[in-house]
Subunit: 144 residues, 2 copies
DNA sequence: TGATATCTTGATAATGATTCTCAAGTTCAA
DNA sequence: TTGAACTTGAGAATCATTATCAAGATATCA
């Protein structure tokens, strides 16, 4: 099940871009929206298969790119070279704290850092678009 | 030509890890040390070929990983999915401001942000190891 | 409602960076 | 000098992601 808000956000985006609606696109959004955070494309593929048997890998990738463009999804490039995706519809931006032992990912936000980042953009004459901040360390469970 | 300091840093690391010295490893370090910033493995391969004809791709990758472990080199995961490498021996840590139009990379440092990042680690019970911060935007040359 | 142009899809091949394999070559401590 | 252990180069293998393309779905306009 998907909020009407998500569905219409997708619809609006497609309309705006001259693209078309499809059941596959809706299902992928649903999986990203309801599934765990930080899913890989492969995991999203498997989960979507359950709701829409027969969907292809290419469609998963295409749709994920689309959802990112629509601002409904965010792509996270991980250390292992595999991308992970998470729902971002109306969510607050956040960064990631990643344990290098167990791979646990903690989401963090620091408005102060965000502000300083904006300043760095400005000082260097850049028009800000987005950023990625990943902090790697050893989490308290793995420390001992 | 390579500073004695770099050479002995490599030597020390190899000794400490029970590994062996080789001309190839020295040449790769030299290329990373003297070459432009943000070289891809492919570029490092080509440049090293000039100094050490016959060197293989596998050796380049293996050596880059080694140099990263030794702290002489830093790997930068770029948006295009290709890793870039830069010398890091005794250098000050810095982050990257990347133009999404022309690909230009500007190095930036912000001690304030560094401090806040440390705090995020601590607050979440993580032992800090390293971080990656990449700011994406459009540079002043591409803006108009 | 139907025709049509355009967009999407799924299967599969292709790509491309990185890693693995293994026999032959090097290094270095004793 | 010798030998165990580490490295190397060539090329095959991996694996995530993209491209291709014919067949299918969608939406627009009459």
């Amino acid at each position: 099940m998907l909020d009407e808000k998500d569905k219409s956000a997708l619809h609006d985006f497609l309309l705006r871009e001259g693209l078309k609606f499809s059941a596959q696109r809706l299902k992928v959004l649903e999986v990203v929206r309801r599934g765990a955070r930080h899913l890989t494309a492969g995991e999203i593929y498997k989960h979507t298969q359950a709701k829409y048997p027969g969907i292809g890998y290419a469609t998963i990738y295409r749709t994920l790119r689309l959802l990112c463009q629509a601002g409904l999804c965010v792509e996270l490039k991980c250390e292992d070279g595999v991308c992970r995706y998470e729902y971002a519809g109306g969510a607050v931006h956040h960064d990631h704290l990643i344990c290098t032992k167990c791979g646990r990912i903690v989401e963090v936000v620091d408005p102060e850092i965000e502000r300083l980042q904006e300043r760095l953009f400005k000082v260097n004459g850049f028009l800000p678009q987005r950023h990625r901040m990943e902090l790697y360390g050893i989490c308290n469970r793995c420390k001992k």
